[in-house]
Symmetry: none
Subunit: 185 residues, 4 copies
Amino acid sequence: MSKKAIVLQTTLELITTQGINATSLSQIIKESGVANGTVYHHFKNKEEIITELYLMLTQDFGTVVMRNTDQGDYKKQFSTMWMNLFHYFVNNPLAFVFSEQIARSPEIPQSLKDRARKYFSEIELYFRNGIRDKVFKSYNTMVMEELFFGNVVSIVKIHENEKVTLQEKHLQQAIEISWRGFVKE
Amino acid sequence: MSKKAIVLQTTLELITTQGINATSLSQIIKESGVANGTVYHHFKNKEEIITELYLMLTQDFGTVVMRNTDQGDYKKQFSTMWMNLFHYFVNNPLAFVFSEQIARSPEIPQSLKDRARKYFSEIELYFRNGIRDKVFKSYNTMVMEELFFGNVVSIVKIHENEKVTLQEKHLQQAIEISWRGFVKE
Amino acid sequence: MSKKAIVLQTTLELITTQGINATSLSQIIKESGVANGTVYHHFKNKEEIITELYLMLTQDFGTVVMRNTDQGDYKKQFSTMWMNLFHYFVNNPLAFVFSEQIARSPEIPQSLKDRARKYFSEIELYFRNGIRDKVFKSYNTMVMEELFFGNVVSIVKIHENEKVTLQEKHLQQAIEISWRGFVKE
Amino acid sequence: MSKKAIVLQTTLELITTQGINATSLSQIIKESGVANGTVYHHFKNKEEIITELYLMLTQDFGTVVMRNTDQGDYKKQFSTMWMNLFHYFVNNPLAFVFSEQIARSPEIPQSLKDRARKYFSEIELYFRNGIRDKVFKSYNTMVMEELFFGNVVSIVKIHENEKVTLQEKHLQQAIEISWRGFVKE
DNA sequence: AATGAATGAGGCTTCATTCAT
DNA sequence: GATGAATGAAGCCTCATTCAT
């Protein structure tokens, strides 16, 4: 694992725990066991660490969601996408917290969020095609993505916080509800 | 205007513009034209400025909402409360931003939010009585307050952002929709 | 002696010994026995210390040179000015080094030098009047000032470096030579 | 052009623009597009870059000045030397600035200046012979060199700054004046 | 009530240099 | 010959806070 990767990972851990502002560079340096200058060899400044982390994770999301979605009808694909994201979040708690708390906070400037849109192009295409093929209502695609993410997030939260264990059928129900929100008819 | 009031006002302006974290004491001091020590004469530390500001504004909300609500039936009172809050927000943009962005953020600790509950006692009483008198559904009163605030906030946002000017009848509609959400049957 | 004065004095000592660039803030802090923040309470940044020092000393020069010059003819005044500066430099070795090494270096930006011109207004007036009254050749006054300063500086250097002690008559000779450079005929 | 030469050239450009102190190694590295380690492969440390640059340029001066001076009498040789240096400076503005601003500054230690004396041995010999042959007054040869350089520098400055274009006859005049300063009688 | 001098910990960043490849 | 990762000391500056007046 390269020093750069270590810094990114450490930063992810720290800011998901304490927030961006509460996380100082010296803390990142101390925690990652890397030298002062090493951080600045890889990143222009503190902000660039956050930026890179954000883009990295956002790209992850985009890629993960569309894995194995090249077959089946819209419904089947939707289900796959949903489960992809769900499992990703369940298996990567830090990415989940980051997506929930950091990615939406005002610390991430809008310009950066815009730059990251490209990683959602495939997802966007899926929804746009669905609208074109009269499968989905003609919502704004960005809104659809947000709703889709939001649904998964809600279930992940239940999965994490509730004492009751989620069963497979609960997930199927959640997917069903989510799907119904988009389809025509 | 006392020095203390100046500090509070300046702080309000700064944190609604930049957020709590981005606002330093030195900035408050510089902006308010008050001496260093004067701030510490009136406030124990930086946190106490925020605390006092929060309590002040929260008390404002509570008082404002219940103004002139001692007459009429529940519906009439509801309408008055709604309009009270609406006009307060429209006339105090900083209070609006504060209520929206700061008051809900994690920078305000839960303990402080709890302390501020007392200022909502009258509002809470209104809803509790309504439930007792079978006018309202028996929701949790905190939830009811949140919904009530949320409704007003939504309309204020429309008022602020939309190019279309809100007409009196639109407000009446909004109040009607809000009211329907609470009442039995 | 105020902390601010201590910082200025220490800075003067350090930069005349080592140059501006070789003098770090931490050194100034350590040497002056003042706290980090104290420096920044009095000065906006490192540059402002230099600026203030430069203006302070430059004002000194201007004032010192013109002391007791309100009587006598041009020649008598010239002699007084010359001796004033000579004694000032002899009694304030740091000011002398500063004037020689620092004040002319490119570390002092032209803009600052321009700002300091005002402190030489009396000296300039002396020369301008002399020209008007046909006592002096009509040189550029800035050039005249430079020459005047340069002459004194040369003698101070001899005074400092030579093994031979300067006698009163040597000074009178120097003044005489200096004076001849300016006068008509 | 070798990497080493690129580093030297870049350094020359940077320090003539900003001064030695203001020029950091990182800047040289960034600007020259050469790797970090490559610089240290060719130079022991930052100082050595300056040293090498200084010696290189100084050697240039020495060589250039004496080009085509093996024929003619002292006067003819003097004229050739003068024009050699003049054209070199005119065609190598960076070398000119370096010679003027850097080479004389205290950043170049005396020890280095002494080491570079050897490159002036031919020039020195010219003047020493001239003294021996009773052509020149018996000044100190180093002083003579300084004066010679200074004269050329002055004219180059006029050439660069003045709006009036220098004509051949002006150069001849300058050489004449310069020459007269040295010769006996 | 009000002031502003004084503090020192801690923040981010730049720097010259070393080392393994 | 060339590269770039890695280092840590040192630089400048901001911050919240305390204290004497």
